[in-house]
């Protein structure tokens, strides 16, 4: 019972922060709402007995990626820019976003109904760092290494793009 109350509150907070992200006019506020959303996600992971995922969510998304976002927004002064009401070439984005959102929501609802209202597997799943490491390096080695290679390629690309020509 308490689980349901806690998860319900967290879900409401998560939706509210996502709405805040979408509706803020100021880029810094939007970024901060996204951070709040990540933090709420991390708390949900803790409630679901997955502290490893929670901590990774905090340190990777809230602690590293969003700090860089805010750094760039501050550096460029981008929070003061007001976008044109309908920027050319992007007018199809809003209907597309609505369609994809409806699709995602219906998939979630379908899964929920197919499971008979049981939202998540709250029974004990071993989510310790050891278990996740064993999974990654035993059952998912190939995708794991492909992701590593992709990230390396992105890093090399970033270095090449920012190198000064002498």
């Amino acid at each position: 019972m308490t689980d349901w109350i806690v998860l319900g509150l967290l879900g409401a907070l998560s939706v509210a922060s996502a709405l805040g992200l979408l509706l803020s006019r100021n880029a810094i506020y939007a970024a901060l709402f996204l951070v709040l959303n990540f933090v709420v996600g991390a708390v949900i992971y803790i409630v679901l007995n997955a502290p490893f995922l929670a901590v990774v969510q905090i340190s990777v998304y809230a602690g590293a990626i969003m700090v860089l976002f805010i750094f760039v927004i501050m550096l460029l002064g981008a929070e003061r820019l007001t976008p044109a009401e309908n920027p050319p070439g992007l007018s199809y984005q809003r209907p597309l976003a609505i369609a994809l959102g409806v699709l995602a929501l219906s998939v979630a609802a379908y899964v929920l109904l197919a499971r008979g209202g049981e939202a998540a597997a709250t029974q004990a799943v071993d989510a310790s760092p050891t278990a996740i490491g064993v999974q990654l390096f035993r059952n998912y080695v190939f995708p794991f290494e492909v992701v590593a290679l992709l990230l390396l390629a992105a890093m090399v690309g970033a270095v090449v793009l920012t190198r000064r020509t002498e």
Partner: protein
Amino acid sequence: MPVLLEVSLKSAALLFVLLTGFAYLSLLERKFIARLQARIGPNRAGPFGLLQPAADGLKLIFKESVTPKGVDKPIYFLAPALVAVPALMLFAVIPIGKGETFQLASRLNVGALYVVGMMSLAVYGVALAGWASNNKYAVLGGLRAAAQMIAYELGMGLSVAAVVLMASSASLADIVAAQYPEQYGGILGWFLFRQPVAAAIFVVAAFAEVARAPFDLVEAEQELTAGFMTEYGGMKFALFFMGEYVKMIAVSALFTTFFLGGWSGPFVNELPILSVVYFTAKVVVCLLAFIWVRATLPRVRYDRLMDMGWKVLFPVALANVLVTAVLVAMGVPGYRL
């Protein structure tokens, strides 16, 4: 429900100790630096100046609360709290002494990762304070802080990773236990001696994370007046001040836990309260080192600071993790429990 009560009481006690500790740390710093500079330091308020922190606090409370024009109010008022809170939250996983009485969540199996995460959240307060103040010096200070902390977080995270490999556990309670294997007598088991490179990297990164001399570019007075704190006064300034000192205590406590054997010491089995004394003594030694360095070294130049973070500290930390991992996997004596 008793668990909830126990945890709340422990947290409240910890907060009380940290907040008075911070006040007296500021007095200790002023006294110690004064001695290093052949002065006497504050000695008017109470015997040996012991009431000086109270006097400072009262003065700050009675300051007029000024809100400059053009600030972004919600974030301007939120930022000081965002500096202090992550620093306080770090203490949730640090084992202060032997036994459950002196520990909160030190058995958390991802404790070391939690530490790294909380450290990285501390950037927000500083960067946002700079942005919300509507002041060029403050923005520059905030940007410097963000860049500096991102650069040095990596080195710190990797030095902690080497410690986690040695202890083969990310829980801080296990890391303390791993520093006392059978084959080592006493302090030779400390990771300070078995992981000296990681310890050195952690120390340098800690100075940069706390943004204290010689890495206090964030608030370099000669260039930026006071950086991100320029537009803050009274109790709002005091919160930043508190955040800095609590962070200083936190990284000292972390260094003690990761490299100086944590709470352990002779006779802790007979008298568990001794473990708290040992822990506190080790933390105070680290804090004195922090203050000593501030009185000794001049501030480094900003480009050199960034060069060192990215081109020296980060590669060395990566290589250290690689070597440690290989040695642990090979089961070399001293690297394998």
